[in-house]
Symmetry: C2
Subunit: 384 residues, 2 copies
Amino acid sequence: MTLWWQQPVKPLDESARAVARLRQDNLTKPPGSLGRLEQLAVELAAMQYRVKPRIDHPWITIFAGDHGVVAEGVSAFPQAVTQQMLANFVNGGAAISVLARAAGARLEVVDAGTLAPAQMPGVLWAKAGDGSANFTLGPAMSEAQLVHCLNLGRATVKRSITFGSDLFIGGEMGIGNTTSAAALACALLGLPGIELAGPGTGLDAGGVSHKAAVIDRGLELHGFAPPFAKGGPGGIYSGSTEATLEIPPSPPLAKGGTVDLAHAALRCLGGFEIAALAGAYIACAQQGLPVLVDGFITTAAALAACRMNAGVRDWLLFAHASAEPGHARLLAALDAHPLLRLEMRLGEGSGAATALPLLRLACELHGGMATFAEAGVSAGTRHG
Amino acid sequence: MTLWWQQPVKPLDESARAVARLRQDNLTKPPGSLGRLEQLAVELAAMQYRVKPRIDHPWITIFAGDHGVVAEGVSAFPQAVTQQMLANFVNGGAAISVLARAAGARLEVVDAGTLAPAQMPGVLWAKAGDGSANFTLGPAMSEAQLVHCLNLGRATVKRSITFGSDLFIGGEMGIGNTTSAAALACALLGLPGIELAGPGTGLDAGGVSHKAAVIDRGLELHGFAPPFAKGGPGGIYSGSTEATLEIPPSPPLAKGGTVDLAHAALRCLGGFEIAALAGAYIACAQQGLPVLVDGFITTAAALAACRMNAGVRDWLLFAHASAEPGHARLLAALDAHPLLRLEMRLGEGSGAATALPLLRLACELHGGMATFAEAGVSAGTRHG
C-alpha cells in the first residue's frame, strides 16, 4: 500500500501554459519586458488550469510547535514566546496579522504541538505532543507523531480548498525552530551544522557556533553526520564560504533511499510545525493548489517534502531570500529563485505575504492588458 | 536671482525618523527582522513628517515625448508607437494602466512634446515642441524648451499636491528615449556610449553597437565626449564589464561646474519627457513629496536632477533594478539600492508601480503591529 504522501501530484496544465505564453507575447509591451512577472503569470496559469490565473482567496496557515532542543540554549528568545506570539497572531498585532489583513487573506493559526497546556482562544488545537523532544538525546518525535503532523498538514490544505483558496502560504512559529530546520536540512543535504546554522532571532557569533555544535550532536546521534566532514581542516567543509553553493551528494550512511532518509530526518530532527508544513506542501501538490514558500524554515520543510515526493517541486513558488545565511543553500538545492531579497528573517509567513502583491500584479497585468491588435499599437521589428 | 530649480529642498524630519526608528525596535519581532521594510518605513516617516507614514494617495504622471534621434535608427519600434501608447494608457490597456488601477493611484498622461498634431483625448497638452531635435545634428532642445519642461514638471507636482498625493511616481513614454537617457547619463558621468547603451525595447547586439556610436557622435558634437576614452584599446573604458561600476570624475572639458554641466547636458542630449521628469523630481524635493523612481530613463532624469540640485537625492526612493544593462551604473552613481530585481524593462513607471505595494506594506507593518509591551510578549536577550 502506498502511503498518501507518496502518491503522485497533480500534473501541471501544459496547454494553459502554452496559451498563456502566447498571450504574454501579444500584450502591448516589448516581449519579455515585464521580466519575471511574465513567467509568474504563465506558471500560475499552468497551476490553476486557466489562461488567466487569479489570486482572489489567498490562505495563510501558521503551524506552531515547541522544540525540546531549546534546552541546549540555541535561541535568543525564551520558549514562552511561542505561546505569547500565538496570542499576538490571533489578536492582530503580529507582522503576519497585519500582512494578512492588507492582503485580504484568511489567516489560521494551528497549534501542532506547543507547550500550551490548553487550547488558546482562536487557535486550532491539533497538538502532536507537548513540544518535540530534544534531538540531541533521542528522536524529536515518534513515527505516530510524525504521521499526525503530516496528516494535519493535509487536513489543513483540504479545509483551505473547501473555503475556495487559490494560493497556499504556510507560516511557522516555534522558538528554536531554526535549529530544527537547519538540522533537518543538514541531514537531507549531507552537510555539517556550521553550514546551515545562523543567528535565527538574534544569536551572536558564539551562539551560532554553539548552535552548529548542537546540530552536529543530533546528526551524529541519528546517523546523519556527513562522514567526509571528519577529515579535519583539509575536509571539503572547512573554510567554505557563502559563495560555495555546491550541494554534495546525500551521505553514504543513508539507507533505504532518498524517500526513507527524508522521512527519518523529519522524525529524528524536525519539529511538529515543520512536519505539518511538509505534509501541507505535499497535499497542495496533490490537490493542485499553488504554494508560495516563505523563508528558511518553510524552505527546509519544502526540501523535505520534495525529497519525500519529487513531484511537489512543480507546485512551489518561492517568495524571498531570507537574511538567515543558510537559506541561499536551501534555495540552491531546490533550484529556487525567489522574488524578493529584502533582508527579512522573521518567519510567520511574512516574506510570502510580502511577495503576494507581486503574484497578484502579475495576474492583473496578464489578464488586464490589451493586446497589440486590441489597442491598435504597432508591434516591434521582432514581431514585424 | 536664483533659478527655482536651484533653490533648497525641504529638509527631512530627523525627529520623526528617530521616533520611528525607536518604534520599529519595539515591535513584536526580533529587531531588524523585517529588513528593508523597516528602513523604508523609517525613511518615509522622515519624508512625511509623521511617525506613522502612509501612502493613501499615490500619484503617477507619465510624461511623453518624441525624439529626433530616432532618425538614426536606434529603436526596434516605429515612432508612431509613442502616440499609440498614449491612447493605450488612457484607454486602460497598458501595463501602467493596469498597475495604477490595482494601486488605486491617480494616473495622468502629459504630452510634453510628442509628434501628435493635436491634443489627444484624455492626454494633457503641454508640448514643448513637435519632438526634440536629433542630437547628432544639434542640441535636442532650446533653452526655452528646457525651461518649459522643467516648469511643466514643477506644475505637475504642485497639481498632485493639491489633489492630496503622498507619493509621486514619474513614468515616461517616447520611442528612442533610452538613447537620449543614455546620452544624457554618459555626459553626466563622463562615459562613452557603449557603457550605457542597451537593447532598450529590443535591439540586437548590432543595434546596440550602432546606438552607442550614435550617442558618441552626440557627446562629441556637444563637447561631452570623455577625453580619456580616446586613448585607444589601452584606455580605461576598453573591455570594461558590468562588474566595473566605478564612476570616473566628470569630464575635464566641462565648464562652469556640475550644475551648469547637467543643465547643458539635459538641453543638448535629453528629451522633453526626461527634462519634465527632472523638473518634477526637483519640485518634489522642494515641496516635500517623496518620489519613487522607476527604471533606466527616470533614473537618468533623477541623476540630472541631483546634479542640478544635490539635495534632491534625499527625497528619492528607488523601485527596481531594470534589465537594461546601464541601469546598474546609474544606480551606483546615485548610491541607490532598489527594492526589486525582476528583470523588468518596460518603463511607463511600471517598475515603480510594482514596488508600490512594498512601500505600503512597510507602512502598514510599522503602524499596525503591536509593541512587545502592548502584546505582552517577552523581548529577546538583546533587549533584556
